[in-house]
């Protein structure tokens, strides 16, 4: 791929991602009052991450099984409040042992 296309992709990602962070700090003086907007913003992060995890995680392994088992056990570990790093490590180890 041409290098300038990659640079444009990178620049767009940097500008948009930081504009999202800066905009509310500049604009919002108090709490957002619209109930639908607040509810929508509340669900977005979890839905995004869930959609990106499945089925991509299962499709990333040579056969679906290692990814699927890592997904299930990772979810159990997170359910019992293991943190970001332990959950990530558990998923890696399971797939490493199974493939």
């Amino acid at each position: 791929m041409e290098q300038h296309r990659i640079l444009i992709y990178i620049l767009l990602a940097i500008v948009v991602t930081n504009l999202i962070r800066v905009t509310p700090m500049v604009l919002i003086k108090g709490q957002i009052s619209n109930r639908f907007v607040r509810s929508f913003l509340y669900y977005v992060p979890y839905v995004t991450l869930a959609v990106m995890t499945f089925p991509d995680m299962v499709l990333a392994t040579p056969t679906p099984w290692p990814g699927l088992i890592a997904l299930l056990i990772g979810m159990v570990a997170a359910w019992f409040r293991l943190g970001l790093f332990p959950v990530a490590a558990i998923c890696c180890v399971i797939v490493f042992l199974m493939i």
């Binding site: 800066v22 607040r38 929508f40 992060p45 979890y46 797939v95």
Partner: protein, 239 residues
């Protein structure tokens, strides 16, 4: 010791464990960035200036298929929407009278984890605390990504595949605890899995890139969830 120096040291202390986790996760992100054709220095720059795990992952998958620029913009907007919420919540934690340039810099420091420790800081969050926590974690994040791009191709394929699971593990660790606390989030997560799985195999929609699928499903499922199960009006920000 001056107040400012103390805040910097506390920021480094609280930022270090985050930085260690970032190093490992960014490594697997680097493997994906390498597939998209990024060089180590490009990956370092992108990671340093975006600091967005899911947003970067989405961007790299789009770069890999040479998607339209507009797709990258929409992807970054939707996948990073949570930072908007966090930044809004953070605005309530900054001392009145703080210059606007410091407020803007602090909002740029927002990541899931740095936001977490900044909100947990007793009283108003000092700018120096947030800068130092963000700086150390960002340096490790960007370095991890650059190492992943470089070393990812040197490692045997099965180790690369195993390491690539850490990014998904991090996603799981973010969305499962709230799903345990709030049944509505649990339903939304289940709906996400089901619809995302269907979209990957269904005719027509399975032709979409995974970035496109992410954006469309996020807007659709979140809107339906907000309509069917609005949050209580006393719910207070993302904290």
């Amino acid at each position: 010791m001056t107040e400012r120096r103390k805040n910097i040291l506390h920021g480094l202390r609280d930022g270090f464990p985050i930085a260690m986790g970032y190093l490992a996760v960014a490594f697997s992100l680097g493997i994906i960035a390498a597939k998209a054709g990024l060089t180590a220095s490009q990956g370092f720059l992108t990671s340093f200036f975006t600091r967005a795990s899911a947003g970067e992952y989405g961007t790299y998958t789009l770069v890999a298929v040479q998607a339209a620029y507009a797709e990258v913009i929409v992807m970054c907007l939707v996948v990073n929407l949570r930072y908007m919420l966090m930044s809004a919540a953070l605005s309530q934690k900054i001392a009145p009278g703080t210059p606007w340039i410091k407020r803007i810099l602090m909002s740029c420091c927002v990541t899931d984890e740095v936001f977490g420790i900044s909100i947990a800081h007793p009283g108003y969050t000092p700018p120096a605390y947030m800068y130092s926590a963000a700086l150390i974690s960002t340096l490790f994040w960007a370095t991890g990504c650059a190492i992943g791009i470089t070393a990812g191709s040197l490692l045997p394929q099965h180790i690369v595949t195993a390491l690539s699971m850490s990014l998904y593990g991090m996603f799981i660790a973010v969305f499962i605890p709230p799903a345990r606390r709030d049944r509505n989030v649990l339903f939304a997560v289940i709906a996400s899995f089901v619809l995302s799985g269907l979209c990957a195999v269904a005719p027509v929609v399975s032709q979409w890139s995974s970035g496109m699928r992410t954006v469309v499903l996020t807007i659709l499922i979140s809107a339906v969830a907000a309509w069917l199960r609005p949050i209580r009006t006393d719910y207070n920000g993302a904290a």
